[in-house]
């Protein structure tokens, strides 16, 4: 197992780091408080080519491995967690379309998403079916060279900001998981509407809302893969998605560490910088260990995925450990900074509010444990 980057990937990592430091980090609070999609950043990342990392060169991508992608995601999240999450979800939907969709479908949708001209959301969860994804009720009925889709999708990242939606619907509820099928639905199509943007605890730089489908006609060519492979597509995308969340959480931890360490080196109590107290040093030692462990688990899962090897268990382990650790690290960062840490004028409280969701989305951490346990049952 080799996590060393070649010279090119190293340069791309450095670019991501520079971009995160110079462009994203100073705007983290502004983006998070906006309650709107950060379009300028979304487009800029597209122009620089960040969405094409894992796509082969013949598809207009960079043909790099998943490890490089995960490392870039970590760097971006260090600057701005909302931006990191945006990059992960958008890439995941676009890549699923490229992997499973017909050549025509791929040629129609993938290039514009890769270029950052169009935003692509992933719509699986429903109000009553989250973890139990095989039970989704959104229904696709075959009609006149296409399908008519009805149902409600919940907690959809990007919400009404998205241009395209990768919607999972069942063609036959009797078939259970084998009836689930993936479709690309475009914003503006008749019958597609959105709930009010959700009021969330954190992560407010991206919109989350319901996506409501009422008799939405989807032409047959917009079906992604065959009927019945939808859950496979969704779960495949989630393997990558989980590694992405692990990388995102690792990046957020690094930010929490850096911000609180800077404070601990400046804050003077009892006549000395608080970092000189061993109680503080122990906190930072624990944080550093958690960051290192998370980063390595994420890289291992990403390396396996990049090699085309099975990585479901490793992706779940990376997601579980990184996001649990990230919650502990962000909480400690607030603790180090005391009352200042708790104030919205300082950056760490928003990290803590955001990081909770990483234990919930892309499969709750309870689901991750089930996925892991399946490997030895």
């Amino acid at each position: 197992m080799d996590f060393a980057l070649d010279e090119t990937s190293e340069q791309i990592r450095d670019l991501a780091r520079d971009f995160a430091t110079n462009e994203l980090a100073p705007r983290m609070a502004e983006i998070d408080d906006a309650h709107a999609h950060p379009w300028d950043i979304f487009k800029q990342l597209g122009e620089l080519g960040f969405y094409g990392i894992i796509f082969p060169e013949e598809a207009g991508g960079l043909g790099l491995d998943f490890l490089t992608y995960a490392i870039v995601l970590e760097e971006i999240a260090t600057g701005c967690f909302n931006t990191g999450l945006m990059m992960g979800v958008h890439t995941m939907s676009t890549h699923a379309t490229y992997t499973w969709g017909s050549k025509e479908l791929s040629e129609k949708y993938v290039p514009q998403c890769m270029a950052g001209e169009k935003l692509f959301a992933f719509a699986l969860s429903e109000p009553d079916y989250g973890s139990d994804a095989a039970g989704i009720k959104t229904r696709a009925v075959k009609k006149d060279g296409g399908y008519v889709i009805n149902g409600t999708k919940a907690w959809i990242t990007f919400g009404e900001a998205a241009d395209y939606f990768l919607v999972m619907a069942t063609v036959d509820p009797e078939l259970k998981s084998k009836g689930i099928t993936a479709f690309i639905v475009e914003k503006g199509w008749d019958g597609l509407s959105f709930g009010e943007p959700e009021k969330k605890m954190g992560g407010n730089g991206l919109i989350t809302s319901q996506v409501i489908l009422e008799d939405v006609f989807v032409p047959e060519e917009n079906r992604v893969g065959d009927e019945g492979v939808g859950l496979k597509i969704a779960l495949g995308a989630l393997d990558g998605g989980r590694i992405g969340i692990a990388a995102n959480a690792t990046g957020v931890m690094r930010r929490a560490f850096d911000e609180s360490l800077k404070y601990a080196k400046e804050r003077i109590q009892f006549g000395r910088e608080i970092i000189r107290f061993q109680s503080m040093q122990f906190k930072f030692a624990d944080m550093a260990a958690k960051i290192e462990a998370s980063s390595l688990l994420t890289k291992k899962a990403a390396w396996l995925k990049g090699k085309g090897l099975p990585c479901t268990k490793e992706a779940s382990i990376a997601k579980l450990i990184s996001t649990d650790f990230a919650n502990e690290v962000c909480s400690e960062a607030v603790q180090v900074m005391g009352a200042y840490g708790y104030m919205q004028d300082y950056p760490v409280e928003r990290l803590l509010r955001y990081i909770k969701c990483t234990q919930i989305f892309e499969g709750t951490n309870e689901i991750q444990r089930i996925v892991i346990a399946k490997h030895f049952m």
Binding site: E7, Q11, L15, D18, G49, G52, L62
Partner: protein
Amino acid sequence: MKIVCLVKEVPDSEAKITVENGKIKETGVKFIVNPYDEYGIEEALKIKEAGGEHQVFILTFGTERAKKVMESAMALGADEGFLVADGSAPDCDSHTTAKVLAAALNKIGFDMIFCGKQAIDDDSSQVGVRVAEMLSLGHASVVNKFELTDGKVKVERQIQGGQEVIEMPVPCVITCQKGLNDPRYPSLKNIMAVKKKPRTVFTLDDIGLSADDVGVNGSFVEVTKFEPPLEKAPGRVIEGEPEDTAKELIRSLREEAKVI
């Protein structure tokens, strides 16, 4: 037009510089494209993008290690890269560095030359102007506004109390100041493309120079040693009533600091 951008490998401004035995310790230090050179590259790329038959070249003088920095500079969108690689580079003064660059420029050809106003490591601010003089070209240094129309260059530079406007024909040398433009980030595609673009490494022999022309032998200036700046002693707060503190301040300025 062949637009050549001169680029120097410098330590990252974030790098922690340590000195050992009078020399700067380079292990663990990250090297980057001199930030002022990036303004030159950006200006060259803008000329190219505005249309016309233009090529943007990167020219570096350094040790073999500088190849990486030449490639980073190319990743901004340049067409070709050239490195004059020689172990003597760190011992070359501004005069010798300019001599090497001028020889390389004669070899590759040029219609326009951009360069940073200074390198952020030794801050000598001389190389661009020396190159121009050696090639008998017009030059303007510390430029913050640039325009090219019909083979004529019009530049502006800040001088005391105002802006100086200079016009001159190409080819000429411009050294670039912050504010000239907003250097771009390299795109991921351009980073990937560098390995497919022509990159030439010259030896001194290739550009018609020999070991006698460079390094300590060819330089007028010899750096004998580096020393880290002295650590500043912490300040002292004089407390008490104004009458006493004023007296104490005068006393310490006179007797301890010996400045009055």
